[in-house]
Symmetry: C2
Subunit: 282 residues, 2 copies
Amino acid sequence: MKTVETLNELWQARKDLPGPVGLVPTMGFLHDGHLMLVKEAKQSCASVVVSIFVNPTQFGPSEDLDAYPRDLQRDLSHLEALDVDLVWIPTSEVMYPANYQTWVEVGDVTKPLEGSYRPGHFRGVTTVVSKLFNAVQPDVAVFGQKDAQQVAVISQMTRDLSYPIEIKVVPIVREGDGLALSSRNTYLNQDQRKAATVLYRALRAAEKAYLSGERSAETIRQIMSETITDEPLASAQYVSCADLLTLTELETITNGALLSMAVYVGKTRLIDNWILGKPNAD
Amino acid sequence: MKTVETLNELWQARKDLPGPVGLVPTMGFLHDGHLMLVKEAKQSCASVVVSIFVNPTQFGPSEDLDAYPRDLQRDLSHLEALDVDLVWIPTSEVMYPANYQTWVEVGDVTKPLEGSYRPGHFRGVTTVVSKLFNAVQPDVAVFGQKDAQQVAVISQMTRDLSYPIEIKVVPIVREGDGLALSSRNTYLNQDQRKAATVLYRALRAAEKAYLSGERSAETIRQIMSETITDEPLASAQYVSCADLLTLTELETITNGALLSMAVYVGKTRLIDNWILGKPNAD
């Protein structure tokens, strides 16, 4: 496994990789969810590149950029064990040199949900992912369903910008009690960690109602809201029952739906989602 | 020479091209200036791809999109004669499918000069060039110095978005009387065609003053303005004596300068430029 930092090192190493090449973009502090992305890439590609970069432009001014957890040595030993070919660990100066002034912006699909509560977030995501795509020139890029809107936004960008890249999406990996794996789970204390299962409980309560025949999206949203309200340590920022492709809120569920939510547990903001009308992972 | 229209055809044909691959993006109606770009690409690359696409998103609502001249058969015979490998002629539907919503935007360097008189123009240019870069994945892309600000903007975008692409710039090709070649010259009637040499005359008058020791950028701008004012059929939209890299207006010329201008001759808007303190082509 080779690790590189600069663009020139990356481009040099990229030339020697047999195709198809798979890219797994990460912000490091890897958990089993990330490792599933790498395994997916290994399965469909001759070479796998993993990028590790805590991208400052996708964090808001009041968000957790400085606190975001890092453990590069552990990350590298995980990736080595999975036989990754190349790890790119650019610095901020490599990604955003002096006089940087170019942005990739996606429209409608970035507006609701995460986009409405994290202004500028998706501009940072689409810009950095576009840079990763340009620099690595992968044939396949793998993302996690955990960031459901990010998957929709990256898919839109990939199509719109004519990238010859296949986007693969890997299901959410959960703890035994249903909590979706997230690098941010490390912020939770013991009580908060227990309370954090409320996201999964809310999603499953909504799914249960759907499977019993409920098709009012507003009722489904209320079921999720009430489950979260019942948990004293948790507070919902939004709950959503939206169209799978456009992410606009539904009135009636006809062709499946994306259930999603952002919930504060203490000061930690957690997200989770569940697709109705299509098999989920668990 | 192969011609393709869809992305899948392009990607398929691209796989068979030996590298390095050169890309020459054009809007068609090719003149000797374009052919110089192709020759430059032939010289430094094993394969050459030319794109022909009159990109609607870089035209303003009151600009000449519908009138823009087209002659595909003549273009193809020129390119065939130069032994181009692949010509990509996408339709608007290929480039901007239904629900298109992604834009590449460059900041400061797009603001002055053309950017200030053609709002949205560079957003259209950077978006379409980024799409061409993504779809073709060239090693080299060739642009003409005629569009001086476009060269600065594309260079900035290429660096900012981490494209492993070398930008080559080819000097302006001029008629015997100094008029820079442009597809838009076809709009000029006989009297306007004679008057159109005023851009070149203004640039040379400014250069003459510079070579005599003049270093006040304002005086240089006045010399250009006055030359244009003296031509009854012409009217300057702007004249500029700007920093070569940032394109901001200079007070004093210390390290060279970009002289540039947009001039209406009748209803036809012409641009031209000249680099002071560095050899030009003629």
